[in-house]
Amino acid sequence: MKIGVLTKQVPSADSPLKLDGGGKWIGEENVTFAINESDAYALEEALRIKEETGDGEVVVASLGPQRVQRGIREGLSKGADRGIHIEESLPYTSDPFLTATLFANTLRNESFDLILSGLQSDDLGLGQVGVLLGEMLSMSTATLVMETGISDSTIRVKRELEGGWFQWTTLKLPASISIQSGINTPRYPSLKGIMGAKKKEIRSIARNEVDDGGATLQTLRKVYIPQKVKRTEMIEGEADQVVAKLIDIFKRDIKVL
């Protein structure tokens, strides 16, 4: 089983965010980056499928600036076999169709049986690339996957529906599957894994080598701090004062006491 995993590096959840001067993206100084949460689950699922089938290869692919190699290396230290880095600089690709095209052009000759990706990124949150890439590479697709069962020519996946419902769907391979957070418990890299990762290959490709010049379908004009729509009354003070005010609010304003 040859498995590709798409990972993205995003600001970690507790990292402070500031806008850059141009208002098109965030300023990256003082930002700590981490592998996108659902991508980390996708990587873990790929490693488990490889271990279960007993042979094959897990390849981590990332699009982004030089720094994303650290994320790829983290994947290698957890057990992925090699990495592919499509290197770009600002402005980063924000059109999911272009992102999928870049991955399709890079990964086409790899002929993966399975491509796993996180459901959506924690920065742009477009949630389209896994399906778009599957279409471009003529693979079957499924999203919101919470469990997988692999066989020679098919994969059976438990898809999350809304409101606590699930459904099992069987797909023909090759398949591109978008993984939902919570599907497994991602492992930590072992010391041996970290040492071994240093010898593993990361192939670097410049974005313009795989950009076929097709039109971008959408443009991110600017990012900005949202305008507050609701007036919030902030309660300040020591814990005891806060509690006294909350009790007052529960009684008088909200009338639940």
């Binding site: 959840a13 965010l17 806008l19 059109d95 169709f97 999928a100 924690d122 920065d123 949150g125 477009l126 949630g127 389209q128 399906v131 279409e135 079957s140 697709t141 499924a142 999203t143 919101l144 999350e160 529906l161 809304e162 409101g163 606590g164 699930f166 459904q167 099992w168 769907t169 069987t170 797909l171 957070s181 919570g182 039109a215 379908l217 959408q218 443009t219 991110l220 004009r221 990012v223 900005y224 701090i225 949202p226 507050k228 729509v229 609701k230 009354e233 902030m234 309660i235 814990a239 005891d240 509690v243 909350l246 009790i247 609010i249 529960f250 304003d253 909200i254 009338k255 639940v256 006491l257």
Partner: protein, 324 residues
Amino acid sequence: MDILVVLEHKNGTMHRASMEAIAAGQSLARDLGQTVSVLAMGEDTSQMAQEASAKDVMEVLTAEHPLLKDYSADGYAKVLTQVIEAESPKYVIMGHTYMVRDFLPKVSAALRKPLLGDNIAYRIEDGSIIFTKQVFAGKLSADVVPNGDPPYLVTFQSAAFQEDAAAEGNGAAVRPVEVNLESGHISTTSEEPFQETTTTVDLASADVIVSVGRGIGKEENLSMIKALAEALGGQIASSRPVVDAGWLPPYHQVGSSGQTVAPTLYLALGISGAIQHVVGMKGSKNVVVINKDSDAPLFEIADFGVVGDILEIIPKLTEAVKAA
């Protein structure tokens, strides 16, 4: 055709997000001076088509086929692609539901047309349209514009438009459209949907909800949340990370993958407020947020906010509620 709103159903009954999508389509039509049509897809669309034809729309299209009885991404994408090619709408509008997220990118790929997803608003500036969506887990907003010629595929986040804003009409005509679908087009087979557990907590009808997030830190601290919920006579709910960690069963989860709630009081403790959570609780009448991170996006929709340590405040609050 100008604007086409595509409906979604469960066992023939229209999804709430579809009524919101009709309201979005009508709003866009007013602003652009265009007309709205509606498309119902399925094996039998009569109930949905009837419901939609009562709204102020020009026409209701129905795409019926036995292979559309059960949802498949391939089948739905194929049929919607055919209808768009035949009818040439400028905008195709849907709610940002799990089903739409699953199949609509396929239509985008087939047509090579943009899918602008999960928007919270749109505006017209100098005659061109700009969509707004939340990025960085709701901490920032982004303006996005489509490039090239229409059609543009557009989805709106739950509650971006109100379902009761969908204006009534006087009986739009229903027109069946041609569907070419074969079993060979569908590369997947699906089994019956199921729920993991039969035990559920009916959060939807709760008057008071005490909801807990990642900020609780560890499982042992949940007992203080339970004590507070009990004192307030409310139900316990949570955001996804608490369920993913196995600290609470999934039926306590509020958000896009859990329940949608609208209590009198939603007390959010240590919840940062990712979009996926907010869509499940923003209909609450009063939202009180306690979080040690003053930048937590949930403060944006709070009526009352406290920047503080929940582990310190909650035990004192519980005692005070009991004494009240």
